[in-house]
C-alpha cells in the first residue's frame, strides 16, 4: 500500500482540527478576559461614585465624570507621577548606557580574565535585594542620599545592570567583528566605535532593554517604600499605598489614581510590544 501525501484529510481529521483550534482560541480569549477585565473594571470604577461602586460593582458607570481623576491628580498623584518619571527615565538611561559599555568591553576588547569578569558581573543576577536592604539603608543615610530620587536611581541602576548587560552582551556577540575592525582601520577610537558603530547596531536590544527597565522601575515597590518617605520623592506604587491609607473609604478616587498610574505603562507596552517580546527572546536565545 502506498501512502499519498496529496490525499485530502478525512472528515474526522477536519472535525478534530476544528475542535482543537476552537479550544485554543477559547483558552486565549479567557486568558485575555482574565488579564484585561480587572484593568477595565478599575478604570470604569474611577468614573463611578462610591455608592455606585458598592451597589452595582459590575455595572457601567452612570456618568463619565472626570471628578475622581482630577481629585486624585490633585491629592498627590501628580507628584508621584513626576517622581516615577524622573526615577524611571534617569535609571533607564544610566542602566542601559553602563550596561552597553560594559557589554562592549566584555565582547570587543582583549582584556585579561574576561570570563571571570563576565561571571562576576552576571553574578549580580543572583543577589537578592532583600538581603542587601539594611547595609544599603545605612550607606544611603551616610552619603546623604536617603529619601531622595538619587537613592532609587542608584539602586535601580545597580540592581538592573547585570540583567541588562546579559541581554546586550548576548546581542553584541552576534555582531560581526569585521565592523569594529573596519572602524579601527578608519581611525576610530574605542569610544567612537561604541557610539558610532556598536550602539546604533544594537538599537533593537537597547529599545528592548529600556522597555524592560521601565516596566521594572515603574512598578518597583520594596526599595521605593524603604528608601523614600516624603510625599514629593515617593513614586507611584508607594504613593498609591499612602493614598489608600489616607483616603481608604474613597474607593472611587483610589481607583482613579490607580488607573492614572497604570495608564502610561499599559500604553507603552502596547506601543512597543514588538520590541518587548523580541528583547525577551533575544536575551534567552542568543
Amino acid at each position: 500500500m502506498t501512502v499519498g501525501t496529496g490525499n485530502p484529510p478525512s472528515e474526522s481529521a477536519l472535525f478534530w482540527t476544528a475542535i482543537s483550534k476552537s479550544f485554543v482560541y477559547s483558552l486565549l480569549v479567557c486568558l485575555g478576559v482574565i488579564v484585561l477585565y480587572p484593568l477595565l473594571w478599575m478604570a470604569a470604577s474611577g468614573f463611578k461614585t462610591n455608592t455606585q461602586i458598592f451597589n452595582a460593582p459590575f455595572a457601567i458607570p452612570l456618568s463619565w465624570s472626570l471628578e475622581n481623576y482630577i481629585g486624585a491628580w490633585n491629592e498627590g498623584v501628580r507628584s508621584f507621577l513626576v517622581s516615577s518619571l524622573i526615577v524611571t527615565a534617569t535609571s533607564a538611561f544610566c542602566t542601559v548606557m553602563i550596561s552597553a559599555w560594559t557589554a562592549y568591553g566584555l565582547t570587543r576588547t582583549r582584556m585579561p580574565c574576561k570570563p571571570l569578569i563576565t561571571g562576576f558581573i552576571l553574578g549580580g543576577l543572583m543577589l537578592s535585594p532583600t538581603v542587601a536592604l539594611i547595609p544599603l539603608v545605612r550607606m544611603m543615610q551616610s552619603v546623604g542620599l536617603y529619601n531622595t530620587h538619587w537613592a532609587l536611581i542608584l539602586l535601580y541602576t545597580a540592581f538592573r545592570i547585570p540583567f541588562t548587560t546579559f541581554l546586550i552582551r548576548a546581542y553584541m556577540l552576534e555582531l560581526p567583528s569585521d565592523l569594529d575592525e573596519a572602524a579601527r582601520m578608519d581611525g576610530a577610537t574605542e569610544g567612537q566605535i561604541f557610539w558610532h558603530i556598536m550602539l546604533p547596531l544594537c538599537r533593537p536590544i537597547i529599545v528592548s532593554s529600556v522597555i524592560l527597565h521601565i516596566l521594572f522601575a515603574w512598578n518597583e515597590y520594596l526599595f521605593a517604600m524603604i528608601f523614600t518617605n516624603a510625599q514629593e520623592v515617593q513614586t507611584l506604587p508607594v504613593g498609591l499605598t499612602s493614598l489608600m491609607a489616607k483616603h481608604g473609604t474613597d474607593y472611587a478616587q483610589v481607583f482613579a489614581a490607580m488607573t492614572i498610574s497604570a495608564l502610561p505603562i499599559v500604553l507603552l507596552f502596547f506601543a512597543m510590544q514588538r520590541y518587548f517580546v523580541r528583547g525577551l527572546t533575544e536575551g534567552i536565545g542568543k
Binding site: 565592523l179 575592525e181 573596519a182 582601520m185 558610532h196 558603530i197 547596531l201 538599537r203
Partner: protein, 364 residues
C-alpha cells in the same frame, strides 16, 4: 628602498606559532598576492600588516618606519574585508566618509574625496542608499571606495571576491586590475586561496604553507619553475601530475624512468643527481604521442569536457592515481580506450624525494 619590509615576522596564539619568521620585501606600486591553502597563515599575515593582530616578534616597516606598535589607522594602509564590513546603518556616502570625519577633515574636502572615489567606481548614483539596498558587487565596490578615499600607501585586500558568484568574480577581478593601473604608486597586498586570481592580478605571488613562505616570484616563475612539489601542484589548474621515478645517467645524458614504465631523455646529465626522484608534468604539457616516444601509456578512465579543452584522466597503473592530460576539445578520445601521451623534455619537472626542484632556475 622597499615600500614594505617584513623581517622575521612571527605570530603566536597561546604558545602555538602560526607564522614562523616571515621575511619579505614589497616594492612601491607592486601588486603582491598571498596565496595558499586554508590555514596557511595568509590572512593572519595580512592582519599583522594591518595592525589588527599584534606581531609576536620581528619587524614590520612601511616606508622605512617601524610599524609594529603603530595603530592601524596611522600605518598609511586601508583594508578591504572579505565580508565588506560596511556599516549597515549608514548610507554609502557616510560609509565612505566615516574615516575622514573621524580624522577631522573639512566637510568640503570629504565631499570632494568621496565624490572622486565614487566616480572611479561608478557609485555616484548610489551614494544616498544603504548597503542593504545594494548587490554583492556594488557592496564590494563601496568597500574598495572606502579604502580609496583614505589615500593609502598600502592597500590590503582580504579575499575580497570570495562572497561573489563566479560571473561577478571575474568582472570584479578585472575592475581591481584596472584600479591598480589607475593607482600606479599604491602598493597592494591581496590575499586569496584562488590561484586564478593570484595568477591574473599579481606582479609577484607569495605562496604560503603552514605559516612559512614556500616561494616568492612572478606568476610565470611560479608556473614554469616551481621550487618544490607543493608550489608545483598548488599553482596551475588542473594540478601538475607528479609521480615517483628513477633518474639514470646514460650515454652522457640523463634519462628519467617512472613507475609506470615510461621514460624520457632529459639530456644534460650534469644538471641532475642519479637516483630516485619525482617526475612532474603539467596536464597542458601532455599531448598525444603520435610518432614520438610516449611518456605514459594507459587506459582512459574519465573525461571532463570543458568545451575548448577536455581533461583526460588516464589510468597508468600507479596507486589508482590517474595522469591528467589537457587535450583539445575536438580530439576524438573515448573512455576505456588506450592512449599514449608524450611531453617535451623541456617541460618535465624533476624534484628530489623531499620534493625540492632538481632542474631549471628554481633548483634549490
Amino acid at each position: 628602498m622597499a615600500e614594505m619590509t617584513l623581517h622575521q615576522i612571527r605570530k603566536t596564539y597561546g604558545g602555538i606559532e602560526v607564522l614562523h619568521g616571515i621575511d619579505l620585501e614589497c616594492e612601491k606600486g607592486e601588486f603582491m598576492v598571498f596565496v595558499g591553502p586554508s590555514g596557511c597563515g595568509k590572512s593572519t599575515l595580512l592582519r599583522c600588516i594591518a595592525g589588527l593582530e599584534e606581531i609576536s616578534s620581528g619587524e614590520l616597516r612601511i616606508g622605512g618606519a617601524l610599524m609594529n606598535d603603530v595603530p592601524p589607522s596611522r600605518r598609511g594602509i586601508s583594508m578591504v574585508f572579505q565580508s565588506y564590513a560596511l556599516y549597515p546603518h549608514m548610507t554609502l556616502f557616510d560609509n565612505m566618509a566615516f574615516g575622514l570625519k573621524i580624522a577631522g577633515i573639512k566637510k568640503n574636502e570629504i565631499r570632494e574625496r568621496v565624490q572622486r572615489a565614487a566616480d572611479i567606481l561608478q557609485l555616484t548614483p548610489l551614494l544616498g542608499r544603504y548597503p542593504k539596498a545594494l548587490s554583492g558587487g556594488q557592496r564590494q565596490r563601496v568597500a574598495i571606495g572606502r579604502a580609496i578615499v583614505r589615500d593609502p600607501r598600502v592597500f590590503l585586500f582580504d579575499e575580497p571576491l570570495s562572497n561573489l558568484d563566479a560571473a561577478l568574480r571575474v568582472a570584479t577581478r578585472i575592475e581591481i586590475a584596472k584600479l591598480k593601473q589607475s593607482m600606479p604608486d599604491t602598493t597592494m597586498i591581496y590575499v586569496t586561496h584562488d590561484q586564478v586570481e593570484a595568477m591574473t592580478l599579481a606582479d609577484r605571488i607569495v605562496v604560503l604553507r603552514d605559516g612559512e613562505i614556500e616561494q616568492v616570484g612572478t606568476p610565470q616563475e611560479l608556473y614554469r619553475t616551481p621550487r618544490n612539489v607543493f608550489v608545483a601542484q598548488f599553482i596551475g589548474s588542473p594540478a601538475m601530475n607528479v609521480l615517483p621515478a628513477q633518474l639514470h645517467h646514460r650515454d652522457g645524458g640523463a634519462t628519467i624512468t617512472h613507475a609506470a614504465s615510461g621514460e624520457c631523455v632529459l639530456g644534460g646529465a650534469g644538471a641532475f643527481d642519479a637516483g630516485p626522484v619525482q617526475l612532474g608534468v603539467r596536464p597542458e604539457d601532455l599531448a598525444l604521442a603520435g610518432d614520438a616516444a610516449p611518456l605514459f601509456r594507459g587506459r582512459i578512465d574519465h573525461i571532463e569536457h570543458l568545451g575548448e579543452w577536455q581533461l583526460v584522466h588516464t589510468d597508468v597503473g600507479i596507486d589508482d592515481k590517474p595522469i591528467i592530460a589537457k587535450l583539445p576539445g575536438d580530439l576524438d578520445v573515448r573512455r576505456g580506450a588506450d592512449i599514449a601521451l608524450a611531453a617535451r623534455p623541456s617541460s618535465i619537472h624533476v624534484f628530489d624525494t623531499d620534493g625540492r626542484r632538481q632542474n631549471g632556475a628554481g633548483r634549490t
